[in-house]
Amino acid sequence: MERDYDDIPGTYVFDGRRSRQGYALNMFCMSLNDAAHREEFTSDEAGYLDRFDLTDEQRTAVLERQWLRLLQLGGNIYYTFKLAALDGLTMQDIGGAMSGMTTAEFSDMMIGGGRSIEGNRHRGASA
């Protein structure tokens, strides 16, 4: 079913559709709140992921740190950020990675006032 926010560009609203798709993926990320789990994951990433019912695509996206793909596969940013933080990355790092910019470019954009709403309201539109 179409939603009234589906035409917002570059935005993955974490609704029921995405929550169903990403439940196992997000619960894997949630497990990283525990320091012992972080250690276990770090020492054997693939083996640790076997504990969760991920699709092959989700598994690859985790192992290869495909930040945008993780959202497209049902990940929620607050969950996937736990994986990023484990890698020592900041929100600027993955904000840049998801939007095709370097961290420096992304940080400069923020210092310049952030990404403008103009041209970013509707997919395929300029207003």
Partner: protein
């Protein structure tokens, strides 16, 4: 019991990190911390005994396993959460179980079906606003009643529902007859926002015009602005800007008329447009 006022503020984790790591004087952060000083002065001057802090959990105490729309902390203490990179080095949050239980009972009988929470860790959504208001004390100078609102799993509650919950909190506070009721002073803190989007190709979105209009309408005409549909927040304020619905809980608790004491707006803190507003009730 007396409500001394309300504060709306962003709760971006980078602000907490700047305080924890002593970076307030650095060029990136100094302008922001200058702008929040009047709010710190205001709260120090009023020294509320209790702060009801309306915030959201970010996959810390609650995961997708269980997503309460409104969860009220009635416990005696709440520890800082490990959000995936260790807990913040901040004091344990002390609750106010007698008042919190009164709120829980009153709200449920007033037809707000809140979730009662005895034990939960509290993440940056709650502790960063405390750091913004109080800095780095050995212990927080007030009791805190956490009111956790789901804004992570879509859909969050509507602005209207949040505003009505705030009004119900006010009714509950006014009927409090606990052992300390006579002299008790309370502040209500609404947190989150302002415009920001952390995710996707549109990450980094900030919309100062939306944020200014949001604040103006929050003060002057909440009965109209609470009807703003979720899709408008998502589109205009970014996917995480929808946290702003929580400010309506604070606004509702202050009564129909408020006096704006102070506001600041600053871009950027991390990936966000950062706002703060201090309001006082006119009738109290």
């Amino acid at each position: 019991m007396r409500i001394v006022g309300g504060v709306g503020t962003s709760h971006v984790p980078a602000v907490g990190a700047a305080i924890d790591l002593g970076r307030q004087e650095e060029p990136y952060w100094a302008p922001y911390f200058e702008k929040i000083q009047p709010a710190r002065d205001w709260v120090a001057g009023h020294a509320p005994d209790v702060c009801v802090v309306v915030y959201n959990d970010h996959a810390s105490a609650f995961s997708l396993q269980l997503v309460p729309t409104f969860a009220l902390g009635v416990g005696a203490r709440f520890e800082p959460a490990d959000e995936g990179y260790g807990p913040r080095p901040v004091p344990t949050v002390e609750g106010h179980p007698e008042l919190a239980w009164h709120l829980a009972e009153s709200l449920i009988l007033d037809e707000f079906d809140i979730t009662i929470v005895n034990e939960m860790a509290v993440d940056h959504g709650l502790t960063v606003p405390l750091s913004i208001l109080f800095g780095q004390p050995e212990a927080w100078p007030c009791k805190v009643i956490p009111l956790c609102v789901n804004v992570v799993q879509y859909p969050p509650p509507t602005g209207r529902r949040c505003h009505e919950l705030g009004r119900a909190i006010r009714r509950a506070l006014d009927s409090y007859a606990g052992t300390d009721a006579d002299d008790l002073t309370v502040a209500v803190v609404g947190t989150g926002g302002m415009s920001h989007q952390l995710q996707g190709e549109r990450a980094g979105l900030v919309n100062p015009d939306f944020d200014a209009a949001f604040l103006d309408a929050l003060v002057a005409d909440p009965d109209t602005s609470r009807m703003r549909p979720h899709s408008e927040y998502l589109r205009e304020a970014g996917s995480e800007g929808i946290e702003l619905v929580m400010w309506f809980v604070m606004r509702g608790a202050l009564g129909d008329e408020v006096r704006e004491v102070y506001r600041q707006y600053h871009v950027p803190t991390s990936n966000t447009g950062n706002g703060l507003i201090v309001l006082e009730p006119v009738d109290g």
